[in-house]
Amino acid sequence: MLEITNLSHTYGSGPTAHNALGGVNLKVAQGELVCVVGPSGCGKSTLLRSIAGLIRPTGGQVTLNGVRVEQTPDNLAVVFQDYSRSLFPWMSVADNVSLPLRRKGLDKGRRRESALEALEEVGLQGAAAKYPWQLSGGMQQRVSIARALAYRPALLLMDEPFGSVDAQTREDLEDLTLRVRGLHNMTIVLITHDIDESVYVGDRVVVLSKAPAGIVGDLRVDLPGPRDQITTREHPAFVHLRAEVGRLVRGRRSPSAWTP
């Protein structure tokens, strides 16, 4: 459903130009949850912004369900890392969630209904009338997820969605993502720099190299489901995959190639 062909992007021009993406090719199938992992500053965010239509890549193209992404597509939602700058502090939680639904042409009553439903799915049914800043960080990120869910996107992009919360909350949110994904059969592309997280959450882990980013690894995650924070993480396949991804991220092909 998502097809990225030879995508490249350069910021600026001349001697100060920064080549962030150097020809990325990626296909994501309907219903898949793909984690994109790479070292910080490798161009992950540039990739996400190109998919979302927030920037116009300088080369290559992105197609979503066969349609080339030029502007921000109407069947795509994004959960940003920094929830405090993504939710609008002047609106209640319910208004934040229902605002994007105007684009769907729903009337006020239906919008509110959908918003409350989505909030219930993330376990925040009691917070509708509150303001985002009255909630903890983890709860605010749940609101962002609810906003994306209510929007019913074909593709959900998540940009380091759990990077700003504590470890316990992070695990809760990972499990929440897995659960809601099952409810709506969404296609999800999750960008992270956390190797464990990519293996735990993903069906597939795609590893990006340093800038200009290219794909250096594409691994299928074959773990017995349903996933569980304790047992999955001690499963030999998990431990093995995690090491494999870790090597790819650090640019070491195999243990034998390791040099101090």
């Binding site: 927030l54 109407d74 795509l76 993504s86 609008f88 994007p100 105007r102 684009r103 303001y131 800043w133």
Partner: protein
Amino acid sequence: MSGAVRVVNRLWPVVAVVALWELLTRYLEMLSFPPPSQIAASAYTMWLTGPAERLWLTEAALENIPTSVGRLLTGWVLAGVAGIALGVALGRSPLLFRLVDPLVQFARAIPPPMLLALFLALFAIGPRMQINFIAFGIVWPVLINACDGARHVDRQHLDTARVFGLTGRERLFRVILPSAMPKIFAGLRVSLSLALILMVLSELIGSTDGIGFQLLEAQRSYDFPGVWATIVVLGVLGYALNSAFLAAERRVLSWHRSAKQTT
């Protein structure tokens, strides 16, 4: 601490200053510095010796104060609307900003009192001249703050609006304006106090009624307690306007204050 004690704690310096002033002016006996008791008496006869059915307000009070406040507020609202509209437009359009900003910087650098002659020439003496003069003189703080607020909307808020396909109208009214609102309010507050100054100024020169006119009349007839009484009324008016504005701001920007405290 009980409410009464708090009030006493806050107000005793005022009482002390007034008492000192009374003693000093009585001792010095200068014609242009009447003691506060005389000022109070003058203010009382000037404003509060009317008939009971009009709440004891005199003709002068009922005519001059509402007239002046009306001009001030009309000018302020005009300046607010124009300043917000133009400021947000400038803040969101780099091209417009480049073209218009030098003009804005030039126009706002002119001291408003200097423009009084121009406004007297453009409009005849009367409320139209006064309102336009007030509005033009006080529009700049709102305009510049609105422009600044609209320019510095968080990029991620704008990205979010784009991703979720908000229309231009929704972006303006639900993202850009609320985001710029704290700065706009700061500008409106400065403008409100400027409006009081320009209101008096315009009435001192181009008017036949209003508080400023009354001040001029008292001065012309060497009624110094009357001059002082009018000044006191202007002070009270400024204080009341500012308090009302702050109360409104607290309501409208409650999200802003609380969000700042919790994050």
